[in-house]
């Protein structure tokens, strides 16, 4: 079973990762000057990145256990602990969060002119919240980070967003909140049923009754499905993406929507395996529906950002398809595809942001034929487009391939529909690229378009490197996650083969509780 291996680095690595941005945010309260605020935020985000070096190099990928563990009693009366640790499932997300936050701060350098200090504070708090979500191993702590994160994201969209930002911000907030609060009740029910603990590792070993599992899974599903977002809970995403500032979109697409799928892997599957199996057919159908529907909608979009938003719905359909195939290819593919999607969609939103800052339009029709004017930009966009399509040699290919393998083992028909989704994806992305970069220049405003500057290249470069690195040497990522995903699948299968408690016993347990 999973263990929490205490941190042996001599310094609390994960706590530093969580609280360094908080410290940065508090420090920024004292900074008046916009320039100083930008530099302070950048330095803190770079320090976070630096902390990711020991995180990745000292991480032992050969064992499935939770590493760099820390555990301190927090609220004794309720048996709540500040308990954190990372395994192969979460460690890469922590690193990705640190990377994308840095990228976001760099792309916001000139595009955010209004209330710079507040913007940077929100970014840093958001980073802390996201890392906290991935590191938390106590359900209460997890929930605190999960909800607290809404505040900076809401403000990012609402204050620095586009014209229709108010609507988008509140829609984002309410959708996610409604899903989350249902999970909160389920967390409480889990706590009492399991005899008064929020400890995730301990809960994983608890055998919940079948009826209880179905309900609890449904409540957790409400929170995670909205976040992913799965069809039909996805309608907040296009609005939020379109209105959010570039940095907000990058974080939203890169990290936030991954948390839903992460939640499935970390909580739903190991805690409620019976329910997960029972729910699988539904989720598989919803997943392929999202794949096709997202792609179909992407074709119809005239707005650059909205197109990418719908492509995210489609891509996240692949992720859930892989996870719920519940075999090693599927789960590993799904997990890798989350990272991939974070990189490539993050980069796509970066690309939109770069050009939007110059032209102030997101309409695809306003572009065309800009490849000759801005060759560096066009090359960058090309690489990212191909990664998003899943061209062999890029990261997207590996992930989608593994997912389809997994889905095929589950049921061939899902793999077939998934493949159609890939073809559609190639269609709308290439068509997008064609309309933006090639053809004749119809819009005279684009005559004097400036190419990407050094700062923008510096922000984009790490993402491009990762596209090829994972694409050509996927083992770098697989070796980190392999032990943990294998263990997860073994755990689910072992628990579903053992008989679940009879329904009556668990219902009584929920009531009598602690």
């Amino acid at each position: 079973m999973l263990e929490l291996i205490p941190n042996q680095l001599g310094y609390p690595l994960l706590s530093l990762l969580i609280f360094l941005p908080v410290a940065g945010g508090v420090l920024l309260l004292a900074v008046r000057d916009a320039r100083a605020a930008r530099w302070t935020a950048l330095l803190f985000s770079l320090a976070e990145l630096a902390l990711c070096i020991p995180l990745l190099t000292k991480f032992d990928g050969s064992i499935p256990h939770m590493q760099f563990g820390e555990s301190v009693a927090w609220i004794k009366d309720w048996n709540i602990h500040y308990r954190i640790g990372v395994d192969g499932i979460s460690v890469l997300f922590v690193a990705l969060t640190a990377l994308l936050t840095t990228v976001s701060i760099m792309v916001s350098w000139t595009s955010i002119q209004d209330r710079v200090r507040e913007f940077m504070i929100a970014m840093l708090f958001l980073e802390a919240g996201m890392i906290g979500v991935f590191a938390a191993l106590d359900l209460f702590l997890f929930y605190v980070f999960w909800e607290a994160m809404l505040i900076p994201m809401y403000l990012l969209i609402g204050i620095w967003g586009g014209p229709n930002r108010l609507y988008a911000a509140i829609k984002f907030f309410l959708y996610t909140l409604v899903g989350s609060v249902l999970m909160l009740v389920a967390i409480l029910a889990v706590y009492f049923t399991a005899g008064g603990t929020f400890d995730v590792l301990q809960l994983m070993n608890h055998q919940f009754g079948r009826t209880f599992q179905l309900w609890a899974f449904a409540a957790f599903f409400a929170a995670f499905a909205v976040k992913v977002p799965m069809f039909p809970f996805h309608t907040w995403l296009p609005d939020a993406h379109v209105e959010a500032p570039t940095a907000g979109s990058i974080i939203l697409a890169g990290i936030l929507i991954k948390m839903g799928a992460y939640g499935f892997l970390r909580f739903s599957l190991p805690l409620f395996p019976h329910a997960a199996i029972a729910w699988t057919p539904t989720i598989m159908v919803l997943s392929v529906f999202a794949i096709i529907y997202g792609a179909y909608m992407a074709f119809a979009q005239t707005d650059f950002k909205k197109l990418i938003a719908y492509s995210s719905v489609s891509h996240m359909g692949f992720v859930t398809l892989g996870i719920f195939a519940m075999n090693s290819q599927g789960v590993e593919g799904g997990l890798l595809q989350m990272i991939n999607h974070g990189i490539s969609t993050g980069a796509l939103f970066l690309a939109v942001g770069v050009i939007y800052e110059r032209t102030h339009t997101r309409m695809i029709a306003d572009y065309g034929g800009i490849a000759a004017k801005v060759p560096v930009y066009a090359t960058f966009l090309m690489i990212i487009t191909l990664s998003s399509i899943g061209l062999p040699g890029t990261n997207g290919f590996i992930g989608e391939f593994a997912i389809l393998l997994g889905a095929f083992q589950y049921k061939a028909v899902y793999a077939v529909i998934g493949s159609i989704g890939i073809i559609l994806g190639a269609g709308y992305m290439l068509w997008l690229y064609q309309r933006v970069a090639f053809g004749t220049m119809t819009n005279p405003h684009n005559e004097h378009l400036q190419d990407m500057n050094l700062r923008e290249v510096a922000a984009a470069l790490p993402l491009v490197v990762l596209v090829f690195w994972i694409g050509l040497y996927p083992n770098a990522a697989f070796s980190v996650m392999h032990a943990s995903t294998e263990n997860l699948i073994r755990h689910v299968h072992a628990k579903t083969q053992a008989p679940a408690l009879p329904a009556a016993a668990s219902a009584a347990g929920a009531v009598s509780g602690n």
Partner: protein, 486 residues
């Protein structure tokens, strides 16, 4: 004779905090006569000093472990009562701090104001300590009468007059119902003593319809005080019309006191009836959360919105009452403390917007506050997210404990309703945040600045964040204090 007098005074120890508060109130009335209009604030500070000294006395009593029933079992000194007294000191202290400048602006700076506030506080303290229906009623009326006057304190303002008279009429009506319920209970049990009633109920036929009627009548009248739906009709008008500083105090103090007696009577004295009471409380809670949260959405006046929000919060606390048991009671106690602090904070910011000539009561008056006054807007942001119940603010801890006890008591459906309504509440709280941060300021106007108000806000915001991040201390305190009750 002197010996008897000393002996008598010696007996007064347990009630010393109440005496001190009343003494200071009387002193304020006298000093008021010799105080120039310009220096009325001194009276407020005297009142505050009185509250602090009284708090010290209460803490001393707690440390001595003084515990027991006094004055013919009409006055109980136990951890439960002391907990609530500390909450009242906090509400009254913050209430005085937010009043000082406001009264000046409204030109109603008179000594009686502070005296009435202290009288109301002493009434609440008596309510928390009541061991008998009679002393409970005395405390409640002492509190209510003072607040009626405070609500109508702006003599020249018709809204304030309306508030005062409306509260008085409806309040008297609810007192009548309460007395009716009490007399029925007395008729059955033959005693007005709470312990006596408990002893009677342990051997009585609980299916007696008269008993049920008495219980419902007490619920109605206490429900009126805590603004539970459907006894909430007075709240929006009174909250809107009363001077804002009084509204702030009213939304914290009397409501908390109402919950103190609800707990004392329904968890302790009528404990054997809790199975029935629980169902009624659960329905009341559901209604209260629904009406409070839904009605708040349509409000354009911030005081009315906060009035409906305070109704909704009473609904959450009622969930804890429906849950019952030590954890249910402790969750209500923790909740009202957190609620009092965060709500006082929110009202403090509303008061900052009040300038001569500008009422500052419309939600649209908050437009652009995030630009014109960053600190005030940021504080309001924290209070509003706390009221919504988003971590890491104290409001989350309060709601978490409430819903935790509900799930523990098997009221999962009520917990689900509660969390969904608290998601609804996000909508109207966020509207204020939107105005502050996402709209441009309409006109330049500087806020009220006063050190007392700043102090009140600093205290509230510190408490909201500390309780939110590290609730262990207050949580243990609330859980330990419930022992006096059960």
């Amino acid at each position: 004779m002197p010996q008897t007098l000393t002996a008598f005074i010696g007996q007064l120890d347990p009630i010393a905090p109440e005496f001190l508060i009343i003494g200071v109130a009387l002193a304020i009335l006298v000093i008021d006569l010799f105080t120039d209009r310009k220096y009325k604030a001194v009276l407020g500070w005297i009142g505050l000093a009185g509250v602090i000294c009284s708090a010290v006395l209460t803490v001393q009593l707690m440390q001595e472990g003084a515990h027991g029933a006094f004055f013919g079992n009409t006055f109980l000194l136990d951890p439960f009562a002391n907990y609530f007294k500390l909450v009242f000191y906090v509400s009254c202290g913050l209430g005085i701090l937010v009043s000082l400048k406001y009264l000046e602006i409204e030109d109603i700076h008179r000594g009686e104001y502070y005296a009435l506030m202290l009288f109301a506080t002493s009434g609440m303290m008596l309510m928390a300590s009541a061991g008998d229906l009679i002393s409970l009623y005395l405390g409640l009326e002492l509190m209510a009468l003072s607040i009626y006057v405070l609500a109508g304190f702006m003599r020249r303002d018709s809204r304030s007059n309306e508030a005062g008279i409306k509260y008085l009429l409806l309040g008297s009506f609810s007192s009548g119902i309460m007395l009716y319920g009490m007399s029925l209970l007395y008729g059955l049990a033959g005693t007005t003593n709470l312990n006596g009633i408990l002893a009677f109920l342990k051997g009585a036929d609980l299916g007696n319809p008269v008993l049920f009627l008495a219980m419902i009548m007490l619920m109605v009248s206490f429900g009126f005080k805590v603004a539970a739906v459907p006894f909430h009709m007075w709240v929006p008008d009174v909250y809107e019309g009363a001077p804002t500083s009084v509204t702030a105090f009213m939304s914290a103090g009397p409501k908390v006191a109402g919950f103190a007696v609800l707990l004392r009577v329904f968890i302790h004295a009528l404990g054997p009836l809790h199975a029935d009471a629980s169902t009624v409380f659960a329905l009341l809670a559901l209604l209260t959360m629904a009406v409070g949260n839904i009605m708040a959405i349509t409000q354009t006046n911030i005081k009315r919105m906060l009035a409906y929000s305070s109704i909704a919060h009473a609904g959450y606390a009622l969930v804890g009452l429906a849950a019952g048991g030590p954890d249910g009671a402790a969750s209500v106690m923790l909740y009202v403390l957190i609620y009092a602090v965060m709500n006082m904070g929110a009202f403090g910011v509303v008061i900052m917007l009040r300038k001569a000539g500008v009422r500052g009561e419309e939600i649209s008056d908050f437009a652009g506050l995030g630009k014109t006054n960053k600190t005030a807007a940021f504080l309001m942001l924290i209070f509003l997210f706390s009221l919504t119940g988003i971590p890491p603010m104290a409001g989350f801890i309060g709601k978490f404990y409430i819903f935790k006890s509900a799930v523990q008591a098997g009221l999962v459906w009520l917990a689900v309703a509660g969390v969904l309504f608290s998601a609804v509440s996000a909508y109207f709280y966020l509207r204020v945040i939107m105005q502050m941060y996402m709209y441009e300021p309409k006109e330049e106007f500087s806020l009220v600045r006063s050190p007392a108000l700043a102090l009140a806000l600093a205290i509230s915001v510190t408490a909201v964040i500390i309780i939110g991040v590290y609730p262990t201390g207050v949580l243990e305190f609330a859980r330990a204090s419930v022992m006096g009750l059960l």
